[in-house]
Amino acid sequence: MPWINRMIAVSLMVGVIPLWRMADRFPEMGSVFPRVALVAVITLAAAMLAHSFMPGRARRVETEGTHDPRGIVRPLIGFAAGLGGVYLMRHLGFFPAMIAFVAVLFPVLGVENRRTYLMAIVAVLIGVYLVFVLLLGVPLTAGLTE
């Protein structure tokens, strides 16, 4: 854990530099508030870096979820599938894109009884159609279904 904190602290401190420079071009008053926030970020990142070398603080376990680094693979693939689904929304339309997204997501999640789950998702999509399209008039992308 301490090395992650150190990496984040250093990244934040380095990341502040170009943002600070960009503020040079802002009108005088327009640069004050972003710079106050950036000073706060760099100061606090320095404090976090210092804390990561203190034995008592560095030992704290602060993360959520699994501690196994392999555990983050599934969420990242799920996220990529979600992004793919959003991309397909433009071309296929909202409902076909979401079905395609779910069809990719279920194997990633290790779902065995896919038919039952797919039916549940279709029910959710029908609910979305009733509430968002029919009741609230949200113009969800039509795509192929147009």
Binding site: M1, N5, I8, L12, L19, A23, F26, P27, M29, G30, V32, F33, P34, V36, A37, L38, A40, V41, L44, A47, M48, H51, G56, R59, E62, T63, E64, G65, T66, G71, I72, R74, P75, G78, F79, G82, L83, G85, V86, M89, R90, F94, M98, V102, L105, F106, V108, L109, G110, V111, Y117, I121, V124, V128, V131, F132, L136, G137, V138, L140
Partner: protein, 508 residues
């Protein structure tokens, strides 16, 4: 006696139907991430065009209060605040859900929301004219200090890991500066992207940081259920137990007052009210360690205040025509559409309509509690579903909720980006809540500060602290930061002592 006749006129079939329709719509809209109370009021406004003025306003106001309450359901059950006003509720509510105590969380949230709504309704009925005078005293220095005071909530929310919380808050403040500078029109940190010119919309950011990050966390263990253990107690109660009421009674009073005061202030909505109230509840609590770990006082503080804002935000609206929140601004449009202009005439010429609507607002809060607890009994089955069924559902609702805000893909990509950021933050031990606070409060603080600089004839600090209200807020800010720092230091010392004790035992 005349007031009583207005109260009785609420109970006509048409008025009651309007209240129930508003409450049910509000619960659905509030419970769906991305659909805000003002969106709901705006969507339902055209429906009321053909209605008589009293039921029309009753329906819209019932929807407003129910939407704020409805956000607590998804916050408690899925760690997905339906509205940004319920983000503080998610902190403790979801912990209780994971422990199998969601019935308690929903019961406390419902009871507190009803109490908050009722007290603000009474305040609206009794104190509308005198309280509205306070809003006239709020200028740039007061708004700046109010935002600074609200920012100290970050320190409280992050106790136990204050530095990381403050970093998240500072990054949120920085992100709030993205977009066109309102004074000069100069684009700040837009990187040439037109979509960023209007800044980062915080609603998709809230959906991403809370909802999508939760779905990604659930992906790690797709076969598990949200509820970690079997339900405790099992029995579903409509009202809190005596012990629960004893535990939250002081919070109910304090948070109602906070909500009423915050609601009266234009621009400070239910989200700020709930965070300030949560902060104060924690400051006053004897056992502060429970906050963030399933405290019913935390849930009560957040839910009482956000519903207390709903009624009081109508005080400046009805008396001065100044909306206390975005939703109140939409309601102002509704008043005008129905031929009513805010001001003295509302309480004299149109007294029967005004007082009937205010009395109806009180009734709507009771109906909201009854309908909410009835629906809640069935909604809790959600937490027994395996993650694999909920993950795509949260994904789909987050996408459609973000899209529905402005019918554009920018909000979806904002939500997705903040979702991934939220997941990474949670994996690295950062809580997303401070970032949201920074995003919400940043523009209020910056505007207040810049206007103060322009108005100050001399040192700006002296100008700001020259205002008695700003001075009181500054003292409260120092007290809040001091308390949080003291708690952080004490917690660190206790941990060190435990570690030292453990080492000694190991040596033995």
């Amino acid at each position: 006696m005349e007031i009583l006749s207005f109260v009785f006129s609420v109970f006509t079939p048409m008025n009651m139907l309007a209240i129930v329709a508003g409450v049910v719509s509000g619960l659905v809209i509030g419970g769906l991430p991305g659909l805000t109370a003002n969106l709901g009021v705006a969507l339902l406004l055209p429906v009321t065009f053909s209605m008589e003025v009293t039921p029309a306003l009753l329906m819209l106001m019932s929807l407003y209060t129910a939407a704020i309450y409805g956000g607590s359901f998804s916050a408690i059950l899925l760690h997905t605040p339906g509205t940004s006003a319920s983000a503080a509720t998610a902190l403790d509510g979801f912990v209780l859900t994971r422990r199998g105590e969601f019935a308690t969380a929903i019961r406390i949230a419902t009871f507190s929301s009803v109490v908050g709504g009722l007290t603000s309704g009474i305040a609206l009925l009794v104190f509308a004219p005198p309280l509205s005078l306070l809003t006239l005293e709020f200028g740039p220095p007061e708004y700046f200090m109010l935002a600074v005071f609200a920012l100290t909530v970050i320190a409280t929310v992050s106790t136990g890991n204050m530095v990381k919380g403050l970093i998240a808050g500072a990054v949120g403040l920085f992100l709030s500066t993205v977009g066109m500078d309102l004074d000069s029109g100069f684009p700040r940190y837009t990187f040439g992207l037109f979509a960023l010119q209007s800044g980062i919309n915080f609603v998709p950011a809230v959906i991403g940081l809370f909802s999508l990050s939760q779905a990604l966390m659930m992906c790690e263990n797709a076969n598990a259920t949200i509820q970690g253990v079997d339900s405790r107690g099992g029995g579903w109660r409509f009202l809190p137990t005596r012990e629960e009421i004893r535990a939250i009674r002081a919070t109910l009073v304090r948070s109602s007052l906070i909500g009423i005061i915050v609601g009266v202030l234009p621009g400070a909505g239910a989200d700020i009210g709930s965070w300030v109230s949560y902060n104060e509840a924690r400051r006053f609590a004897r056992d502060k360690s429970q906050f963030g770990h399933g405290s019913i006082v935390g849930i009560s503080a957040s839910e009482t205040a956000n519903n207390a804002v709903t009624g009081s935000s109508l005080i400046p609206l009805l008396t001065l025509g100044i909306p206390g929140s975005t939703t109140a601004a939409v309601l102002l449009g509704a008043l005008i559409v129905h031929g009513l202009l805010p001001g003295r005439a509302l309480f004299e010429e149109y007294a029967s309509t005004t007082y009937t609507v205010i009395a109806g607002f009180l009734v709507a809060n009771v109906v909201m509690g009854a309908v909410g607890m009835t629906l809640g009994r069935f909604m809790v089955h959600i937490v027994r579903l395996p993650n694999a069924a909920l993950i795509p559902t949260i994904f789909i609702l987050s996408i459609v909720g973000s899209y529905s805000l402005g019918n554009n893909f920018v909000d979806i990509y904002t939500m997705m980006a903040f979702g991934l950021l939220g997941y990474v933050m949670r994996k690295a031990g950062f809580h997303p809540a401070p970032m949201i606070l920074g995003l919400i409060l940043g523009p209020i603080a910056e505007t207040g500060f810049r206007q103060s600089v322009t108005l100050a004839d001399g040192p700006v600090v002296a100008y700001i602290l020259g205002s008695p209200i700003a001075l009181i807020l500054a003292v409260l800010t120092l007290l809040s930061v001091g308390t949080a720092a003291y708690l952080e230091t004490r917690g660190t010392r206790a941990k060190r002592r435990r570690l030292a004790g453990g080492t000694e035992r190991d040596q033995d």
